[in-house]
Subunit: 189 residues, 2 copies
């Protein structure tokens, strides 16, 4: 997606350790028209798949997921990081290791919002080692729902997440694929 | 906002302790068309205010905030709960006590995304004791930016948040105002 690539080149910062900082438009400050375009693009790429639900993980996945849900006309569920008082005990859970934060967290989805009839599209902001996507896919499997595919805003193709998802035969669509962040320079695939 | 009230009556659950569970459409599962309507409504209520930025807090504020930003044509910034490796040290911070979670957390906004020229609209999912709104307003003040107002999806009018904001002279607009959750019954103001 050209508009996204332009935003990454203009506002993204390649840090050491394979980290791409995109807090100017994606995961701290958010550009709503860009989110809208991304949602429309995900809907286009997965059209005809009879998707019934979008699944994402708080917090940076929410904006692109909601715009995708708006385009496809389906509800969004975001996996929550911590059990709040208002959640009941009927939960699907998965432990997810964050590449950027360097810590593992437990995520929850209430069972009432994901069932065996659902055809699920997972949306997330980054694909690095694939841990978040795999954690969400694990919860889809626990619900006996069907995983239609995974939509990623920014894929770091130099890490192994894409390879893992491809090997599992999961239809993965990334709006921008980054070949390298070496020498603090952003290079697309 | 009638559509929102209908959703609250249909899907909301009044729990003991003044807690309203709306995880079916707002803070776990999200209804994108409802978020779009809410964003349009906030934009209408604050039109002519020359807003330059929407400020919210992760995670449940993000969806209504992004739709409001889309309607007003401005960027959204969400205060983040925890310092990640990708954030630098130039941060505005505030400690916010969560009514629902019963714990205090520190939130951050990167200084580069909020400055003295900004006219800020705060959007949040709930107004209970006003702690989240006041924490965000504190960060707006630290940035010497102008607080235009606060847009709330669901106000629990039986708690003191609205009174505190009114006493501070802050223009607060709530899309649904709940008078009481006594006897597990939802009553609007």
């Amino acid at each position: 997606m050209e508009k996204l690539k332009e935003m990454i080149l203009t506002h993204g910062i390649a840090l050491d350790g394979g980290i791409l900082k995109v807090d100017a438009f994606l995961n701290h400050q958010i550009s709503p028209p860009l989110m809208k375009e991304m949602g429309d693009e995900f809907a286009r790429r997965f059209q005809g798949e009879s998707i019934t639900k979008i699944l994402t993980v708080e917090s940076s996945g929410i904006a692109p997921a909601v715009m995708t849900g708006l385009a496809l006309g389906v509800d969004v569920v975001f996996a929550r990081k911590k059990k709040s008082f208002t959640m009941d005990d009927s939960l699907y859970t998965a432990r997810i290791m964050s590449f950027t934060k360097g810590e593992e967290s437990e995520f929850y989805i209430s069972k009432k919002f994901l069932n065996a009839d659902d055809k699920v599209l997972i949306i997330d902001d980054f694909l690095a080692n694939g841990q978040a996507s795999l954690g969400l896919a694990e919860m889809v499997a626990k619900a006996s729902a069907t995983l239609v595919g995974i939509g990623i805003v920014i894929e770091k193709s130099f890490q192994n997440g894409r390879k893992i998802l491809d090997e599992k035969g999961i239809h993965t669509e990334s709006l921008a694929r980054i070949k390298s962040l070496d020498n603090n320079t952003i290079t697309f695939l």
